[in-house]
Subunit: 192 residues, 2 copies
């Protein structure tokens, strides 16, 4: 009886965390495409921007009119690790969700609020799978899988050069920037 109970308790402790953590790790198809993470809206929110443009990466999305919102989420396990260490563990996933903006609906009289999704990009760290450690994937609204961007893509190049922590734009995440400063993990970039 005692052995069976210990076994039962061990199973509880070892299978419960795996069931919780599993959906927040990257899952790939047999031919190396990333499967769309369907629960990213329940990850931890980092920040939003409206109509953000960049010097090197002037994309059609960023220049669209009406301007679009971008919402950034990160996997809860990675967020908790970052609060402790100021760095991103392996299997970290970011979701960049781009949404259409609108105004003057319902009782709203001015300003901008969010509507439907225009696109979803995933930025993830998978050190064994990608020689550059990090990779980007772009999902259209109906895409369930996506191939990685080339290692020399504009996204990859700009993030590697300008990311404040590792290859990520912590300089735009107001709750994480103070953590990185306190942990001493900010790269010495101009303007950080």
């Amino acid at each position: 009886m005692k052995t069976r109970v210990i076994l039962l308790l061990s199973l509880l402790w070892t299978t419960l965390p795996a069931q919780i953590a599993g959906p927040n790790e990257p899952r790939y198809t047999g031919d190396g495409q990333l499967m769309r993470p369907d629960k990213y809206r329940e990850w931890v929110y980092l920040s939003s921007g409206l109509g953000m443009t960049y010097g090197l990466v002037e994309t059609a999305v960023a220049n669209a009119f009406p301007e679009r919102f971008d919402n950034v989420f990160v996997t809860p396990e990675a967020y908790k690790a970052f609060l402790q260490t100021g760095t991103w563990p392996d299997k970290t996933m970011f979701a960049l969700e781009i949404r259409y903006s609108t105004t003057k609906g319902s009782i709203n009289k001015g300003g901008h609020y969010q509507e439907g999704i225009a696109a979803l990009e995933i930025h993830l760290k998978d050190q064994k799978r990608f020689p550059s450690k990090w990779a980007f994937f772009g999902f259209g609204t109906a895409d369930q899988t996506a191939k990685p961007f080339p290692a020399n893509s504009a996204c990859q190049t700009c993030h590697a050069k300008n990311g404040a922590v590792d290859e990520t734009f912590v300089q735009f995440y107001p709750t994480l920037l103070p953590v990185a400063k306190a942990k001493g993990t900010l790269k010495p970039l101009t303007g950080n």
Copy 2:
């Protein structure tokens, strides 16, 4: 031995959910002030706006320049219940976080992104405590407790009249609006 094991397992099942749910329920001081929820950034994100203004509630915050972002979060337990039912259970808490916006920092060349907190408002449902069922609380950046707004406040009046579901602005939460439509819980308001 068997009895002790059953007791142990019962304790696991009954105490674990309580420990997880506790921090996401409203906590009050002895004199009825709400204690600032310190983990609201880990609640489920609903949406953001920039510089949103309303017909009846033209607040100084909404009209500020540069325009301010508002980020809305809801307690995870309430979010899960809403996905199932299209309604908000008792103890639901919303956080409206108002943040300053800025532009042209780091590599950003245009558009708006978020900086420090300007204010935090909590909107919650506590049916036994408040005759109107819902109440609002405003926290300055340093406030650890807040008194409820009067029951006839502009916030309360506008939400009761214009909230698409119960007293909440589901019309501005793009992932929840389709749920409310599917569950038939939208109020018959103009423009919904």
